[in-house]
Amino acid sequence: MSAIHVTTKINGDVVDYVCEADETLLDVLRNRLGLTGAKEGCSTGDCGACSVTIDGRLTCSCLVLGAEADGREIGTIEGMAKGDELHPLQRKFLEHAALQCGICTPGILVAAKSLLEHNPKPTETEVRFGLAGNLCRCTGYDKIVRAVMDAAQEMRRA
């Protein structure tokens, strides 16, 4: 197999990497780039733990090849806080105790950020259905919804 050279942008930074043709974006992020915030929970697109954005669109990185990131913009959990300043969603997740073991949390935060970018004023039902693709097994479902609603309100005020 011949390696593929990829030029992409991750969390705003230009990144070059070499990957195999059959390597998933999730494996590239985790194993080649050390971005281990995206987690593997199923490799079938069912759990959402590996959620990232590609050109602003929410995507399971286990279902995309690393080679497909060429020329695109990738957003991961590592790009969500600005330095030490947490994103309002991250802050509200802490305040509302919307996480337990934390393995699903990066994926849910990426999905919630994407949801609010597309719908800044979601109803509770829209949040529940918008995040239905992210499994939390611990499970913090009610608190997750509350945190997202609260963050949305704060972000609208800002």
Binding site: T36, M80, A97, C101, G102, V127, L131, Y141, R146
Partner: protein, 738 residues
Amino acid sequence: MAIIGPVQQKNMGPPHSRIDGRAKVTGAAPYASDFAVGRPAYAYFVTSSIARGRITGFDMAAAGQVPGLLDILTYETMRGAVKKPTFFAGGGYAGTTIRPLDGPEIFHDGQIVAVVLADSYESAREAAYKVKVTCQAEQPAATFGSAGATTEDAADAKGHEDPAVGDIAAGLAAASATVDADYATPTQHHNPIELFTTTCAWTGDKLTVYEPSQIVHGLKHGVAEQLGIPPDHVRIVSPFVGGAFGSKASVTPRTALAAIAARCLGRPVKLVLTREQGFSVATYRAETRHHLRLGADADGKFTALSHEAWEVTSRPDSYLVAGTDTTARLYACPNVFTKVHLVHVDRNTPGFMRSPPEVPYLFPLECAIDEVAEKLGLDPIELRRRNDTMKEPIGGLPYTSRSLMECFDQAAESFGWARRSAAPASMRDGDWLIGWGCASTCYPTALAPATARVILWKDGRVKVETAAHDLGTGAYTALAQVAAERLGVPVGQVTIALGDSDLPPSPVAGGSITTASVSSVIAKACDAIRAKLGVNDSALIDPGIRVAGFERLGVALVQEYAEFAPHGAKPEGIDKLYAGLSTLKGGAMLEDRIQYAFGAEFVEVRIHARTREIRVPRVHGAFAAGRIVNPKTAHSQLMGGLIWGVSSALHEATEMDLGTARYINDNFADYLVPVNADIEDVSVILVPERDTQVNPLGIKGLGELGNVGTNAAVANAVYHATGRRIRELPIRLEKLLA
């Protein structure tokens, strides 16, 4: 939505956000598979596609052509490489004694038959797909009633006695109302979102294992046993665990295989089981069957309880949960008979899954109580009140504390139970049939020996070191709160090191024992530090006193190591802990008393009159568990428990092909768990309770308290909505259509 913020009440610490929360929301928290090791090889398992038989040959020709392939390990080269593991129930470490790659025999579907090693994950997987295994298959026994299944009395399995008292026949004869019914609970798999991963790296003859674990010292000794090397040559690193629920509490066969692979290759090996492989390489909650008879006299006093049950286990291992230890003692009843049977079939060995005995065993009892109440024309809460007791009926031992009815009163008030119309199918909202049901919940309060080291610096920084585990439970935070309070410093000045077998040993993060056991030892170490600083037992410690104490001692830091053994523990408990073994004491296992945490759970279901779609708009639970160290994380655990309970009642079941004894829905598309859209109002009430006996701090565990009563509460609500008693879980709409 429910009211969220738990407020600090009597005998509760202040609600505190997770001290590890920032690492988790930024993606920085290192889970076992996140650790980078230099240039790893990747392992991928080939697993058996039959449940019983023998391997007759391998064809490696196609696999051998895959670029990047390094090696393929099978029993032909590995026989004897893994030493025989000791089963945890026999005083060992392993969740199964089945040794894959030790011979051609197949004991269950999904058994590991080859380990493929390659330069990349993709190459390992491709080569694994190309390994051809030929087998001579035999007809397997899948479950109860399968040809070839063998049954034994659990009383013959080591350590179990069937609790009984009085004369069951006389008790049944004296009853005015009786229920005599059969119940069934399904196979369930824990399915933590974190996969079962193992990374092994050798430095000389020393092995480091990065693996999510609920018992790092147990895993260390278990792996050493299987590799035949000294335990102090093994280190387990597992600071964060992405959910476990019991599945990471015993040693699986995968770890020794990954370690041997890494030794063979002379480089680190990373192994990430697929979601499907986790169903058969790790453990699960076995299906159960119950025959329950409950009788009560005209006043609603129980006269007889007979609980006979059957559990599934593997061929070689007698895994047993025997929840009759709890059901026999939950209510006052003069005549109790119990009997548990184990049924051996051709499956992987089952294991602990959140509230292992109580979830399957309280379901029939709490459903039967609802039924008896209806026959007597009594409210089901009132029936429980009439049989509430401070003394368990089998040995007459006193409960250390029991707030069951206080929990019912508070949850009933919050839920609005007084507005319930008692007759089945009598509450309706348009096309939706409304049902309200309730049930008791309980979980034994056990503790185990624990050790810890606490360091206090003159400037007020504190470090706590103990090989306990935070599975998402909030242990990092609660343990920091205990140390901070004891040493008079802000929580932010405390750092906690957990999840590493180089730290002083702590017991398994199972049986809801961590907070009580580990807080107790941390408090003990802190008290020794206070004594060194000249602070007497009750005095508050403030910065002035601390600094004065340090100046008097003339040192920069004070450190204390402590050992804690709970009530009823044997002297050798600490030695066993150092050998990786946790000896739990408490619940119904004590000679002089019985200790449990209690709660009450209320559920509203809405069932569509035509489609029978089942929705759960409301779940309210009230729980009492002694001192609550951190109401914020306790609230989360109980809420998660209630949602687990709804999941168990309505969604979860591992489906099996009865002809081949293979799991069918071994993936997240087909194994149903609730998503955000399935869950609505979940309210948790923390009921203040003081228990001066369970341990010096008065803490009971609550991680497994939330999901015990929910199965019955949902089933009772479904009955109230429809008039149909569904006695087999999960309750899916097809069971309401017929």
